[in-house]
Symmetry: C2
Amino acid sequence: MTDSEKQLVFSLLNQKKIARKEVLLRQGDSCKKIYFVEDGSLRAFNVNNSGKESTIMFALQDWWITDMDCFINQKPALVSIEALEQSKVMELDFHSLQELYKSIPKFERFFRILFQNAYIREQQRALQNISFSTEERYWKFVDKYPAFVQKATQKQIASYLGVTPEFLSSVKRKKES
Amino acid sequence: MTDSEKQLVFSLLNQKKIARKEVLLRQGDSCKKIYFVEDGSLRAFNVNNSGKESTIMFALQDWWITDMDCFINQKPALVSIEALEQSKVMELDFHSLQELYKSIPKFERFFRILFQNAYIREQQRALQNISFSTEERYWKFVDKYPAFVQKATQKQIASYLGVTPEFLSSVKRKKES
DNA sequence: CGTCTATTTGAATGTACTCAAAAGCGGTGG
DNA sequence: CCACCGCTTTTGAGTACATTCAAATAGACG
């Protein structure tokens, strides 16, 4: 990127510090921003009409996170986003992103690749969820995302895997023996 | 698009007719092509090491389909792709796509939006899978994709929902009474 | 028409959930 | 600095959801 391009980018980004458990987006609200995690970690979760909480994604340093359908298509947010620990994020709003696409075509490419990778990850997750047992999925998760295991509670991980915390507890116990 | 752009696009696409049950991509192979469904319908499925078959996605007219990780990152295919009925597809290979990105920047945008939508769909599917019961998921599926219900077998739909055909059968029976 | 595969049905089994209670742990205020 | 409070995790018993296996029936295709 040229210097003037960098300047434009930074003028559109807004740094924000957030405390542990602070909420960036509340389910049902509209969301105008996408977040880049500079430091710390976040999670996105949904609460369905029976009160069941499901973690949809975690985000670590250098990840982007938002409710895409909400951000892109102005739908009400299906998830809330909260910090797992004290974190720093850069926020970029929808109109600024359009501005970037227009002024710096490179960004089309950048986000094309970003979405491409996000899609690939989701496809793999779908495949894993459907074709492996809970036990296999948990140990693969531990293996792939040790940072999340450290930062998230068991309850949150259980809700990411789609099982109850009680059941996840028994999966871990099984490993011991 | 200008006429010369259109000409370039068509020169890179290759039309292909395929019979019912014909396989476009075999799990484990490398895949150099992405397919656009002009007519008919396809499905992508994985067979895991215990022999369990899972349908990862269906594709109707106007959808794009391939194993993305394989296509983009040269990984061995995790899925096979086969036709549910006699179909017509356009195939575009990886290098031709790079050529398109380079010659017609509009295509960066086009595929950025394509991947964006694909990602949003996958996120929604993940959420639905985790937060609804099999019964709810089946009836939502019937409602959202009536064409697939018509074209795919029960067994294939069961494998998309992640349940056995026997169980899906009992879900349907329940509705009757 | 016959064959092969898909679907249905039911019984027995296993996987995961609910509920309740106990134990562990972390943060906060006195 | 420690005692307490609230929340997370563990444990277990009872229940519900989903699978496996086997057999009967129905459908689809050559």
